[in-house]
């Protein structure tokens, strides 16, 4: 089953004539390539990779290791709070699609008032959505999840009901072996609570705490969820704990943004289908659930930041590297635009620093960000490498407009691009464009840097 780009606004013909699609074979290939690239990059950079030099406290675990362990002695005799484990495996599918596999159920969505063609089209879309949901559900419910398959499917977007478990699998927090999950989750959640206890009973690092405290009320201030005390206290604990356990970087503004897609997604698994998570006050949940959401968010954020930690250490070399890569890339993709920016004395760092520091979260909506992360989490180095191609696609999208502007107009435009109301389709088009750029230029970039 080949990946289809037709729903992204690209015909399969166009895409396949240019690049190879992320089928499982090419997926493997590109992943080994990217490993080489990464090895190459790390030796070519003057800045050491974090794993070699920083005393980060959370590098010593990986759910993949868990997967390799035999299950002897692995199941704890008693699991406390058994009901809270009700790991939000599968919630009832919502948003207009019923979970029945019975084709007859689709008749429900064919109101006779609609004209034939329109209803046909809608029916087809519903049908596709439904069958996709079931294939996805089947995949994550396997006793051992096929990660290659999951990545391939998740790249094109994860049904929201299945996103919590899928993200936790993709990020490497949840073991692929379903028999191991309960014990692993229990252990990591207990560990988190222990660490919180340990850090919050001693004197706090005043500077770190002050910075986090002034940033929490400024985190997604327009989304109601982030105005609730309960949300703010959870984020405070997550960020502070991460900061003190990663002294090489500590808390850097923007990391607060990165915690929120995880938080919101994992929270969504604990609330009723019809409730909008962005309006939900988490204090109405039992403490066990809040603790679990917090712990899962903390560990997944930790995993994500492991891949981009040099974005936040002194002098932020990861961001500088990405900004330079973006500049090189745009020069190749769109020479005219690149020349125009040069002529107008626009420096890439002036507008794209934030794109890297906050992973474009300041430019697009939370919804769009979450959809984007489905893909990032499915890419071998989504947040550190693929993101640069996404930024390139994002910039050249405005090429025609930008080429008519002077320095001031360019800066004002890129300060506040008209993408806050982007729909899922817009994001998917951006991602597919980025995929094409990556396929065309990834090796070329590596070659030139060599």
């Amino acid at each position: 089953m080949g990946a289809s780009f037709s729903h992204l606004g690209l015909s399969n013909d166009v895409v396949s004539s240019v690049v190879s699609l992320p089928s499982s074979n090419t997926g493997k290939k590109s992943s080994s390539k990217s490993k080489n690239l990464q090895r190459w990059t790390s030796s070519g950079l003057s800045t050491p990779r974090d794993s070699e030099h920083y005393t980060d406290l959370d590098d010593d675990w990986d759910s993949n290791v868990e997967n390799c362990l035999t299950s002897v002695n692995s199941q704890p005799k008693f699991i406390e709070n058994k009901p809270t484990f009700e790991y939000p495996l599968i919630r009832k599918i919502s948003s207009g699609v019923k979970s029945s596999t019975d084709d007859g159920a689709l008749a429900l969505y064919a109101p006779h008032i609609l004209q034939e063609e329109e209803s046909h089209k809608e029916l087809e879309e519903m049908n596709a959505k439904l069958s996709r949901y079931h294939r996805f559900k089947h995949l994550v419910e396997e006793s051992t999840v096929d990660m290659d398959k999951l990545k391939k499917m998740a790249w094109n977007g994860i049904p929201s009901e299945l996103r919590p478990i899928s993200w936790q699998l993709l990020v490497g927090y949840l073991p692929t072996n379903s028999n191991r999950r309960e014990a692993q989750l229990h252990r990591k959640r207990q560990e988190y609570l222990g660490l919180i206890e340990q850090e919050f009973t001693k004197e706090k690092d005043a500077q770190t705490w002050h910075q986090i405290e002034i940033d929490i009320p400024r985190t997604n201030p327009r989304i109601k969820l982030y105005g609730f005390k309960s949300t703010q206290r959870s984020l405070e604990r997550i960020l502070y704990l991460w900061a003190v356990r990663h002294p090489a970087s500590g808390y850097v503004q923007g990391i607060n943004d990165l915690a929120t897609p995880f938080y919101q997604t994992f929270l969504s698994a604990y609330i009723k289908d019809e409730t909008d998570v962005t309006q939900f006050d988490p204090s109405t949940l039992p403490k066990d659930s809040i603790d679990a959401i917090e712990a899962d968010t903390f560990w997944c954020l930790t995993k994500l930041l492991e891949g981009i930690q040099d974005n936040y250490i002194h002098a932020q070399p990861g961001i500088i590297r990405q900004v330079n890569e973006l500049k090189d890339l745009v020069r190749r993709i769109d020479t005219e635009l690149s020349n125009h920016l040069d002529d107008e004395n626009v420096e890439f760092i002036q507008f794209s620093f934030r794109w890297m520091n906050c992973l474009l979260m300041r430019e697009i909506s939370m919804e769009s960000t979450i959809r984007m992360w489905d893909t990032y989490l499915s890419e071998p180095n989504g947040f550190s490498e693929f993101h640069v191609y996404v930024c390139a696609a994002y910039l050249v999208k405005w090429s025609d407009e930008l080429k008519k502007m002077d320095f001031q107009a360019i800066m004002m435009f890129l300060q506040d691009p008209p993408t806050k109301n982007w729909t899922e389709k817009d994001v998917e088009l951006l991602l597919s464009e980025a995929f094409i750029w990556q396929s065309l230029y990834k090796n070329a970039t590596a070659h030139l840097r060599g």
Binding site: I214, R218, R222, R354, M412
Partner: protein
Amino acid sequence: MSSRKKTLLKVIILGDSGVGKTSLMQQFVNGKFSQQYKATIGADFLMKELVLDDKTVTMQLWDTAGQERFQSLGVAFYRGADCCVLVYDVTNPKSFENVSLWRDEFLVQANVKNPENFPFVVIGNKIDVDESKKLVSLKKAQQFCANLGNLPLFQTSAKEAVNIDQAFDVIARNALQQEENDEFQDEFNDAININLESENQGCAC
């Protein structure tokens, strides 16, 4: 010739995180205040046209991030600045202590020609709070500014739009003065270069 040229004034706003830099800029440029600003990352760019004694100038304002980690970015944003605004929060003594550090940091990174004469303006923000919460006295601030070479000082409230236009009027005038000095210096330098060239030509003959 310089009078016909469009005058651009580049202004940098510095200060600790949370002192109200973004709010000051938004109040000055857009005349509004919001509780919903996100923390600035890197630097935001704003512009505003002003008329100073019949002369129209365009201010390019760089609203920077306050967290220390972003300081290495300075070079990319400070270069070519005509004035630097140092902001502290009257309720936060630490932010006041750091004003001189921000000044030093700016001078190092911006690579200005005459550090002693470079125009800084100091702003103590959030004067709308209760008297009991004001922990940096006006007197202390005045003394500090006098010691640094009589830097202009303004006490403002971005929230209630107090003293904003007055402060930015002085900022713009000082920036304009600086810009004209720079231009004069550049012309002076050019003249020297021309002399050197003609001398060389003379030798060749």
